[in-house]
Amino acid sequence: MTQPLRTLRLAAWLGWQLETNWASPWLFAIYMVVKPVCGSLMLVCMFYAARAAAGAKVPAEFLPYLYVSNACFGLIGTVMFGLSNAVVTDRERYRMLKYIYISPAHFRTYFLGRGLARALEGTVGGALNIAAGLLLFADLRRAMGGEGIDWLWLVVFLGVGSAMLWAAGMILAGACLNMSRNGMFLSEGIGGVVYLLSGVVFPIAVLPVWIQWVSRALPTTYWLEGMRRALMGPVPADTPILRGPLADWSNAELAGMLALTTAGLVVVAHYFWRWNERRAWRLGKLEENAGV
């Protein structure tokens, strides 16, 4: 029992060290804030551009919707991208992957640890992002002030969400085991697809119906809906534009569905990772160094 724990602690420590390997703590702090906030501001700009062009057809509630889901999605992105990045840099840059593989440390536990470090970073980034939004936009203050944060559900969604994040990260990291450096571009691309399918910047009702069904199979869709509700309360009834197919679900239904889809994802991640690990081992990809 102590061996996996030690691996976990070491890997999390290592991940944190690598992430925070900055000469100046200030630059790191800026980095933690600027990146997510600018991403969100971009959406805010789109919102105002659409408003300016199309008259007042866009309800004010669209802004908090965009802002909060994007901030939450940051966590998904950080962990997914972080894990594949861990595979690629450990192999190509530090050339350590093979040594970790042959060490008694459990390979997957090691990556869980690396993921933890990223999750910490993502959570802090997301919180700061929302804080900045609250500071800047009255619409967001109104939306989040109305019901207040529902801490209980927040904990539930974050808890189940962390299993989902890890599973998603492991799927990408697994794929990266068999790819060279450009695996990182793959994880970015997949991140984009998930961003599209889980309705981060629009309610999934605008998607073609058959794509909506794909969305509904993804745990991220339920997770984002749950996070939005925990942070801002249920979707107001007077904004039909924002009411997706999940708007009428209760929080418990959402959490149940999230747990169910997450369980599915974990199973997939387990087998996919194992298959990839074997394949990488067979093809000698654990230590291949492609260069560019």
């Binding site: 000469a23 703590p25 060279s180 291949e288 160094n289 492609a290 260069g291 560019v292």
Partner: protein, 350 residues
């Protein structure tokens, strides 16, 4: 065969290089009050003549690579001067570059997506070598190192040693006037290493104006290849001479070993002969092993005569040659084993 009436191919004068030790990272304990800089090269003065195959012999961390980096215009000296082909490495780097090339063993450069031939082609082109010439030379060089069958294999699929061989070829295909080889046989198998040493000698013999600076920590390699050698440790040149002279230096006496048939005939008082410094004997059931230290080599004549006249029976006679290892131990105070001396920071801070 060194050509004498030319400017030295390489000349360094009081060359010193210090590295600033890395700052401590934020959030960590403040730096201990150790030295702020590390002296990797300490007042190195060397001269390599055109046409020479010059060796730098030293343990890990001695400063060999640092010296090569400075000479190949990759690193600036902290003080002192260095000239390559009569040109200053700081001010005339652009003029030096077309004339040199460098191979550093144990390092794998190149592009994984390209194959061996394409990689070598690329690095020939940036020296302005035409594609046709490049291909000819690449073919020839790949034969030398035994990599011809891998010419069209992607570099990412090569073994470490094969990459190193490719890297070795890269140094030669631009036909440099002065070539730097930094531990070229590091980690290669015995056959490949021998082939490479053989080729290096051939390459030098082909044109007398070529100069080659080789670093190594293999004594035998240095002994076998080099016209002259500098022994370097902790950034300082301890000695610089031909291998033979270096060995002579540690050996004040000529040493002979004799094997005699068992018996007590004559060897007991060899030490009393004029010119014999010392004589030791070791009796075994089948032979008597005698070791004599002579003040001069010809004295062996009177030793033999004495033995023969007193009825001794000589089975074998052998002159014991000192090795560079002996030289090294004499100079450095320890063998060429680990990299212990490298850990000890020298110079720099108070």
């Amino acid at each position: 065969m060194p050509v004498m009436d030319h400017p030295p191919a390489i000349r360094t004068d009081q060359l010193t290089r210090t590295y600033r030790l890395p700052r401590k990272r934020w959030g960590k304990s403040p730096p201990a009050d150790g030295p702020a800089a590390f002296t990797a090269l300490d007042g190195v003065t060397l001269e390599v003549r055109p046409g020479e195959l010059f060796g730098l012999l030293g343990p890990n961390g001695a400063g060999k690579t640092t010296l090569i980096k400075i000479l190949t215009t990759l690193l600036a000296p902290s003080s002192g001067t260095a000239r390559v082909d009569g040109l200053d490495v700081v001010r005339e780097a652009d003029a030096i570059r077309p004339r040199i090339n460098m191979v550093s063993g144990g390092e794998s450069s190149g592009y994984g997506v390209l194959n061996v031939r394409e990689n070598l082609w690329l690095f020939a082109r940036i020296y302005g070598v035409s594609t046709r010439t490049a291909y000819d030379r690449i073919g020839a060089m790949l034969d030398v190192v035994g990599l011809a069958d891998k010419a069209t294999a992607r570099v990412s699929h090569l073994s470490t040693g094969q990459r190193q061989k490719m890297n070795f070829c890269r140094g030669f295909i631009t036909d440099p006037k002065i070539l730097f080889l930094d531990e070229p046989t590091l980690g290669l198998d015995v056959t490949s290493a021998r082939a490479i040493r053989g080729f290096v000698r051939e390459w030098m013999a082909e044109r007398p104006e070529r100069t080659l600076l080789l670093t190594t920590h293999y004594m035998a390699e240095a002994d076998e290849l080099c016209d002259r050698l500098a022994i370097i440790d902790r950034g300082k040149v301890l000695a610089c001479d031909t291998p033979a002279n270096l060995k002579k230096r540690v050996q004040k006496h000529t040493i002979f070993e004799l094997s005699l048939a068992p018996g007590r005939n004559g060897w007991a008082d060899l030490g009393k002969l004029p010119g014999v410094h010392q004589s030791t004997a070791n009796e075994t059931p089948t032979t008597v092993e005698v070791k004599v230290l002579l003040e001069e080599e010809p004295v062996i004549g009177s030793v033999v005569q004495k033995l023969v006249t007193s009825g001794g029976h000589i089975l074998s006679l052998k002159k014991v040659e000192p090795t560079l290892e002996d030289v090294f131990i004499e100079l450095v105070g320890h063998g060429l084993g680990g990299d212990k001396p490298a850990d000890r920071p020298s110079g720099g801070g108070p």
